[in-house]
Amino acid sequence: MIDDLERAIEAMIFASDEPLDARQVAGRLGDQMTPGQVKAIIETIAQRHAGSGIELVERGGHWHFQTPADLAHLLRRERDDPRKLSRAAAEVLAIIAYHEPVSRAEIEAIRGVQTSKGTLDVLMEAEWVMPAGRREVPGRPLIYKTTDAFLQHFGLTSRKDLPGIEDLRAAGLLDPVDLAFEEAMGELDLVKDGEEA
């Protein structure tokens, strides 16, 4: 049987929107008790909850309830949120992979467009890119390189596995993608056939 005073103090600390000290609790109880007496009761309450899923803790003389730190993982559950890398980010990543180490200004020079800071942040968040010191030129810009996680994700043993420019061209990856042009190519072939006939 928990006594009424103890119940009252427990409820008060529970419902309070900020931690309470013994003096505040005594005040709300109409100052029939000294802060010392209140403190003794608070400690009894804390004892009663010890080892449960609820803790009564003191911080700088103020008391509040909280959940034990060792159970934090149950309260904050992590969930995967897969996102597709944007075109811009893929371009920046490719430039870093082919040209590393490379500064942001150099990336922009190669891309021909400004690169937002967010794009590099995304690549660093993905842990595919990391800073690799500074270039010893005026302004000492940060330079970036790819990580081991990058190689792993893309199934590469080393950066040397990246296809060269000629391989890319042969694979058609350097061709302008233009439907009208492709159609014209088809018709030219027809002409050639006609000539041979």
């Binding site: 909280q66 371009e91 992979a97 027809l190």
Partner: protein, 254 residues
């Protein structure tokens, strides 16, 4: 409890109080219930006739005082006046519904409204959150934290690099090539065909049949020029009946 639920002004003792608070009733049924409760008996034992009398008196006095009485109160008054006379007159067994039945219905409605009004009062008197019982003010909260996993394939990476390289290459303007038959091709073709066809033949017959659209027009144009060239060289003869008529050709000297 009074904080939340102020009971209707209970049926007032003095008539003037009744009249002044006309606005505090929510419609005629509400007013009837308040009057019924002033009879201080169980609603099951209520005297409908007395209730009707009270209501009609109330409305009459309100009108005397030139208070604005809403239409639905007057409609109810008219109906109750009819009910009253029907209840007082000798019973006509053929009348349907009978006045007793109408009175019973009114009583049932009043009971139901009273029941819900009591239920509302009891509900509001319960231990309510924020008034009688309290929750934790600032719970930690349960959180689902989304961990972003970026996804891209090697193909995405290489295709992106291809695009960068293309953009970076010096711009080369390429005039898109239309499907054409060159003069050389037409000359070559016509000469071979002339070796096969011996008699006069229309120029169009020299063209491969599967040429159509712009390609056919181009073939006609270049074949025509080729025919003129061959005629100039004396290797072909041309004839045409008139302007815009078909053009015929055959190998010279055959």
């Amino acid at each position: 409890m009074p904080l939340d639920f102020e009971i209707v002004p209970a049926a007032p003792e003095r008539e003037d109080a009744l009249q002044l608070s006309l606005e505090s009733w929510e419609g005629p049924l509400d007013l009837l219930l308040a009057l019924a409760r002033s009879q201080k008996v169980d609603l099951k034992q209520i005297s409908i006739l007395a209730l009707v009398e009270q209501y009609l008196t109330f409305i009459a006095e309100a009108r005397e005082l030139k208070l604005e009485v809403a239409a639905d109160y007057l409609v109810m008054a008219a109906w109750l006046a009819y009910l009253k006379s029907a209840l007082l007159l000798p019973k006509d067994p053929l009348e349907d519904p009978s006045p007793d039945e109408l009175a019973l219905r009114l009583q049932l409605r009043l009971q139901r409204l009273a029941a819900m009004r009591d239920a509302a009062a009891r509900l509001l008197a319960r231990d309510r959150i924020g008034r009688d019982v309290f929750l934790r003010a600032k719970p930690e909260g349960l959180r689902d934290i989304k961990v972003r996993r970026w996804d891209a394939s090697l193909y995405d990476l290489l295709a992106a690099y291809g695009q960068v390289k293309l953009r970076a290459e010096p711009v080369v303007h390429m005039v898109s090539r239309r499907p054409v038959i060159t003069l050389d091709a037409a000359l070559h073709h016509l000469q071979r065909m002339l070796g096969v066809k011996l008699d006069w033949a229309e120029l169009a017959d020299f063209l491969p049949p599967d040429y159509d659209g712009p390609l056919r027009r181009s073939a006609i144009a270049s074949s025509f020029v080729a025919a003129l060239e061959l005629a100039r060289q004396g290797r072909v003869e041309l004839k045409q009946e008139g302007a815009f008529e078909p053009l015929y050709l055959k190998a010279a000297g055959v």
